[in-house]
């Protein structure tokens, strides 16, 4: 046990006017650096860092090569907060997509983005989770209820709706922008 005040020294008033900066990177920053450096992307995924100095906000682009969404190009925005990895990053889908687990505002229903997030998970885990959503859309946990119902009742119609949406066009009363590669 060290004796902290053996010197009993008076500390100097050191307040300086310049704004606070930590010379050390925050734990969140160190962790995201590791996550990003070790991103092991499937060949259908790519990232885009608008500002490479800011590893806390970036985009993930998924271009599925099989399944309903083959040929599409879907952009997700990632925002990593100061409480990472205690809290998951905020992920939104920026491409309008006809999908049971993604709503028309871009909210994504993926368990590890909310209730099942754990600090041991990484950005890579989320990338794989998102990629899986395109291979196996899950009608059991719907966010877009209409799409989920169609998928459950008639996979052919669902498939047609997906291609219609990806080519750019109306599904029901909603117009989807074209998102083919």
């Amino acid at each position: 046990m060290i004796k902290l005040f053996s010197l009993k020294q008076a500390k100097k008033d050191g307040e300086s006017p310049k704004a606070g900066t930590q010379k050390k990177a925050s734990a969140a920053q160190l962790r995201i650096t590791k996550d990003i450096n070790e991103l092991n992307l499937p060949k259908t995924c790519g990232t885009e860092f608008p500002d490479p100095d800011d590893l806390l906000s970036f985009k993930l682009i998924i271009c599925p090569d099989e399944g309903f969404y083959r040929g599409g190009r879907f952009v997700f925005s990632f925002k990593v907060g100061p409480n990472y990895p205690h809290e998951p990053p905020k992920v939104k889908c920026e491409t309008q997509v006809y999908h049971p687990n993604i709503d028309l505002e871009g909210n994504v229903c993926l368990n590890i983005l909310r209730e099942d997030w754990k600090p041991v998970l990484t950005i890579n885990s989320i990338v794989y989770g998102l990629q899986y959503l395109f291979l196996e859309p899950n009608p059991e946990d719907p966010l877009n209820k209409d799409a989920a119902e169609v998928l459950q009742n008639n996979r052919r119609v669902f498939e047609q709706n997906v291609s219609k949406a990806m080519r750019g066009g109306y599904v029901g009363s909603f117009f989807f922008e074209r998102c083919l590669k």
């Binding site: 020294q9 990003i36 991103l39 100061p82």
Partner: protein, 440 residues
């Protein structure tokens, strides 16, 4: 103030500090100097002037500490007044730190509380370095992690060993309803906030599809408005501010509509406030007990009269009173406190970044494969090079041919290096061997 009064005022402290006893630490030397140090020199920082902060300030001031700073960015609200006893109705809207400081200074003669009405992030290293001990009464994990990181960044290492005079102990109190904890952190020496981050339960979140389609609880309706409706309708053109009654009202109205639609009972304005701000009702007695424990730890640290809490005390008042203490363990791979910055010697300031990366791969104690490098230069994070991510690689490739000096990498700058060969990002401190010569 008469000397007799003064004598009587501190006589109980003198009994503890000027005599030895069976519980004293072996290195404790009874002396009248200790009380003098406590009263005249020992400089404390209290972070937070809320429920815990009011108790802490009162306890510490009455214990004889006089050099106390308090920092809080919040203003007094009506709902604080039942337990944050340094505030009155007329103080609503004023800075908590300023009012609390004024109150203590008026009430406890000789005490000099200095207030800072700002975020902890607004202060720099020089500010935090002036304190002997930092005491936290916070309700935010982000803030705890920040101050933890700050105190760790103030550590000075010599040959891999911590210089004890650079250690600023952090006494941290936390309460949630009838539960609370107090802990003593010696940055770099004992378990820190980051080592024990698992102890903080993640916020309760509900699956998005549940809140969107099959809400069953009033909380589901509130979350729906918060997560889906607010960003969609953006009623006030800004993010949700839990302290803005207009915002809470809007959420309350929309959530009530939704609850009615699904036949859900129990939605109240208070619940909305609670869910939006993640509030757990504060209990005055829990705050008092935890603050008392923290203040005692500050006293022990400041005087060495007794061994410190080792190092985590839990209090549970839900059924009867239950408390136990255990030693939270320091993690060997803690992202915050296990980082003894290693030095890396730069023989030539005209080295290019690619030479440095080569060195990281060749040095026998590192042997890295594909290191990704960032650095904090003038308070700004800079990504120097990252080979593994194509979009970053393309944008940082030109850095490889730049000299370290051109990149702003000076003597003493810390590099954060991520590589598959290490479980965490490691910190390497640049040491330019020629700097001294050049200065001459």
């Amino acid at each position: 103030m008469g000397s007799d009064h003064t004598h009587r005022r501190w006589s109980h402290l003198q009994k503890v500090l000027e005599r030895s006893g069976p519980f004293c630490r072996p290195d404790f030397e009874p002396s009248s100097e200790t009380l003098k140090f406590l009263m005249e020199n020992c400089k404390l920082l209290v972070i937070g002037a809320g429920g815990l902060g009011c108790e802490l300030l009162k306890d510490l001031a009455l214990m004889g500490f006089r050099q106390i700073h308090v920092i809080d960015m919040d203003t007094v609200e009506l709902s604080n007044l039942n337990r944050q006893f340094l505030f009155r109705h007329k103080d609503i809207g004023s800075s908590k730190a300023e009012i609390a400081a004024k109150f203590i200074n008026a009430r406890v003669s000789g005490c000099n509380v200095v207030s800072h009405f700002c975020k902890i992030q607004d202060k720099d290293e020089a500010f935090y370095r002036q304190f002997h001990i930092v005491v936290c009464g916070l309700d935010s994990i982000v803030a705890r992690r920040w101050i933890n990181g700050m105190l760790i960044s103030l550590l000075v290492y010599e040959d891999g060993e911590i210089d004890p005079s650079s250690v600023i102990p952090m006494v941290d109190g936390g309460t949630e309803g009838f539960k609370g904890n107090a802990r003593v952190i010696l940055p770099g020496l004992s378990a820190c906030i980051e080592c024990t981050l698992d102890l903080y339960p993640p916020q309760v979140t509900f699956p998005l599809c549940t809140i969107a389609n099959t809400p069953r609880l009033p909380e589901h309706c509130i979350e729906y408005v918060k997560v889906i409706q607010w960003p969609k309708e953006n009623p006030f053109d800004c993010a949700i501010d839990g302290d803005d009654p207009q915002h809470i009202n809007w959420i309350y109205e929309k959530a009530t509509e939704r609850a009615a639609q699904f036949g859900i009972q129990g939605l109240t304005y208070r619940l909305v406030q609670g869910v939006v701000k993640h509030i757990i009702p504060a209990v005055a007695s829990t705050n008092a007990a935890i603050a008392a424990s923290c203040a005692t730890e500050v006293f022990k640290l400041a005087t060495s009269c007794c061994a410190s809490l080792n190092n985590y005390m839990v209090l549970n008042n839900i059924e009867g009173i239950y408390t136990y203490t255990y030693e939270a363990e320091k993690k060997d791979d803690c992202l915050a406190c296990s980082q003894v910055p290693r030095e890396i010697e730069i023989k030539d300031p005209n080295w290019k970044l690619k030479d440095l990366i080569e060195l990281l791969c060749e040095r026998s104690d590192l042997q890295m494969k594909n290191p990704g490098l960032t650095a904090n230069i003038n308070g700004k994070n800079k990504t120097l090079y990252m080979h593994t991510v194509q979009s970053i690689e393309e944008k940082t490739r030109e850095n490889l041919q730049k000299t370290l000096q051109d990149l702003g990498l000076r003597d003493g700058i810390e590099l954060n290096v991520a590589d598959v060969t290490t479980p965490n990002t490691v910190t390497l401190k640049l040491k330019f061997s020629q700097t001294d010569v050049e200065m001459l």
